[in-house]
């Protein structure tokens, strides 16, 4: 195998591995957008909280980051439910400028509270297995990245089962497609909204935990992940778990190849370029239902 082909293959593998994390970032965002019709600008802040939760459990209690994921997810679930039930539900049907401002305000509060509590220091989680990798022929597979991809697949699978095979999933989908009809069928809308948001927050928390294993942790890290969530969602189509997963993998591939060609400091530029290109060329996303947004 030539060196060029080897590098291309390695980049493909790296891209798919990081793409799993992107998928986990995007899937909850997509769920909230598709169900509540809210673009949650605080989604990245929830990812940040998940990363810090993982970091502190690891640093203070030496809890393995992969084992602490259920705890982190649970904590973010418990944080997300009242946030939606008490705060966001107040304006959930308002024009989107209002919900945009609201979630931005929430993002501002969470991010700056984190800054006040934990300072702007950049932190990282380094486990005993952080440096390990697996050589598969010419391709090197970092152990951490394999684990994160596996968990990302698990999270996506779990969410898909939840959405398609459970009563709660049916209730969420019913609410998403027709709120009034769902209410008439006896579905408690406010509760379902809060549960949907809590599930999304839990997945964002888990995504933060996965991110903490490979990327720096700091209070302002959220904004970039909100953009990633949006791109993943646009690539995959609204409210579709498999779509978000595919979108995540695709974005991971694109960013990895772009980083190889352009250098490491162009990730947001590439994400944005992809976003605009997809919006203009393939409006409904790759697997998504059509949305009316051309004007």
């Amino acid at each position: 195998m030539s060196v060029g082909a080897q590098i291309a293959l390695q980049n493909a593998v790296n891209g798919l591995l990081i793409g799993g994390t992107y998928a986990t970032v995007g899937v909850g965002f997509s769920l909230v957008w598709g169900t509540l019709n809210i673009v949650n600008l605080a989604h990245g802040a929830l990812v940040m909280l998940g990363a810090y939760a993982t970091y502190w459990l690891f640093t203070l209690y030496h809890l393995d980051p992969l084992l602490s994921l259920p705890l982190v997810g649970g904590a973010l679930f418990a944080f997300g439910y009242p946030l939606q039930r008490i705060v966001i539900n107040q304006v959930v049907r308002a024009p989107f400028l209002i919900t945009f401002l609201l979630t931005f305000g929430i993002e501002l509060v969470i991010t700056n509270l984190a800054l006040a509590a934990w300072t702007a220091d950049i932190r990282s989680v380094t486990t005993a297995y952080s440096g390990r990798s697996l050589a598969l022929g010419p391709v090197v597979l970092p152990a951490v990245r394999i684990a994160t991809l596996a968990i990302a697949v698990l999270v996506a699978f779990g969410l898909q089962v939840l959405m398609t095979r459970t009563r709660l999933g049916s209730a969420i989908r019913a609410t998403a497609s027709d709120q009034e009809a769902a209410r008439l069928m006896g579905i408690p809308i406010a509760h379902v909204y809060a549960l949907t948001f809590a599930i999304a927050a839990a997945s964002a928390g888990i995504a933060g935990g996965l991110i903490s294993l490979s990327f720096p942790i700091f209070p302002a890290m959220g904004a970039g992940y909100t953009l990633i969530a949006f791109v993943v969602c646009v690539l995959g189509g609204l409210g579709s778990v498999p779509g978000a997963f595919l979108g995540g993998l695709l974005l991971g591939l694109l960013q990895t190849y772009a980083a190889a060609w352009l250098g490491p400091n162009f990730d947001n530029i590439v994400a944005f370029g992809v976003l605009i290109a997809v919006l203009l060329v393939r409006p409904a996303g790759l697997l998504g239902r059509a949305a009316r947004f051309r004007g």
Binding site: W33, V39, V87, N89, Q90, V91, V92, R93, A94, P95, F96, L97, I98, F100, L101, L102, F104, G105, I106, E107, L108, V109, T111, N112, L113, L115, A116, Q179, I189, A190, Y193, A223, G224, L227, F230, V234, N265, F266, D267, N268, I269, A271, F272, L275, I276, L279, L280, R292, F293, R294, G295
Partner: protein
């Protein structure tokens, strides 16, 4: 125009009041301390930003979240010309405004094809991208930022910002009364219907976007020279846009003086919060946005607007928003 607002924004009383306020503002630095001059300069800046956002967000109904992109473009153009080419401020500033227009036309011709959430987040992404571009370039000083020459007197910036504010408010008075303004109102109320009537939407939207951008760019240029230090996160800062939106929305979107009133009220409140604690200021501001959105989504507009128009439209939608 059944539910569309009349080209309102200024009656004779309001204009007289504005003229009196302007006269007072012109005389203010001769009697006031440096602290209050600086405070007012800040209020003028955000009054200008809110009025500028109003041109695209209020009159055209396009929720732009990318105004900070033009603040950054104006700040860096002014800074680079002053530092690298030794161009005087008064000549560098218009170049910043011009480049903001060019960027608005270029990006607007792509982004203004999108609607709603998609337009909003795409403009937000635009800011994040330019921040990264500025960090990667050499001419901007990269991530370390750049220092501008220190001015001899800060009172000059007071008058620059005041002039900018007057221009931005004037644009808000003139635009809705012009032919372009009628087209923009038609597009906002019903784009498809406007198109059927022979109004090609995109060029008009670009005009509104560029008109908004030039004020953001000029404000950025003055800001850069005033603060003498810029780096990517401080000028490509989404907070500029968010504050402008919050002020315009609570002051009354689609009115000539509403955004300015919103800026005066909120910036004063903001100053009080800063005086309580600089450290917790951003948390306070975030909480303020959340509380205002939940408890007063109609904002101050209620006090200033007769029935009808955008305020009524928002009100009608807000009435049924709770679940």
């Amino acid at each position: 125009m059944a539910r569309g607002p009349q080209p309102r924004g200024a009656n004779r009383g309001a204009l007289l009041l504005a003229a009196a306020a302007l006269a007072a503002a012109l005389a203010f630095p001769t009697v006031a301390s440096t602290y209050y001059i600086r405070l007012l300069t800040g209020i003028f800046m955000f009054g200008a930003l809110a009025s500028a956002w109003n041109l695209i967000g209020g009159y055209a109904g396009y929720p732009d979240f990318g105004g900070a992109a033009f603040v950054g473009i104006g700040a860096y153009t002014t800074g680079i010309l002053m530092v690298r080419a030794h161009v005087p401020f008064a000549a560098a500033l218009p170049a910043g405004g011009l480049l903001a227009i060019v960027a608005a036309v270029a990006m607007g011709s792509v982004l203004l094809r999108l609607r709603g959430h998609y337009f909003a987040i795409a403009t937000l992404g635009f800011v994040i991208v330019l921040q990264q571009v500025a960090s990667n370039l050499d001419i901007t000083g990269g991530g370390t930022g750049m220092n501008l020459p220190v001015a001899r007197t800060f009172t000059a910036f007071y008058y620059w910002m005041l002039a900018l504010l007057v221009l931005a408010v004037t644009a808000g008075i003139v635009l809705p009364r012009s032919r372009v303004g009628y087209a923009i109102a038609a597009i906002r109320e019903n784009q498809d219907a406007a198109q059927v009537l022979g109004i090609e939407p995109l060029p008009y939207k670009i005009v509104a976007y560029a008109a908004s951008a030039v004020f953001f760019g000029l404000a950025g240029g003055i800001y850069a020279s005033w603060f003498t230090f810029i780096d990517p996160p401080t000028v490509f800062n989404v907070d500029f846009t968010i504050q402008a939106i919050v002020m315009a929305v609570f002051g009354g979107p689609g009115t000539a003086f509403g955004p300015l009133v919103g800026a005066i009220v909120l910036k004063s409140l903001d100053t009080v919060l800063t005086n309580i604690s600089v450290f917790f200021h951003d948390i306070f501001f975030g909480a303020l946005v959340v509380l205002l959105v939940i408890f007063a989504p109609r904002g101050l507009a209620e006090l200033f607007r007769a029935p009808g128009g955008i305020a009524a439209a928002i009100r009608a939608e807000v009435r049924g928003q709770r679940i």
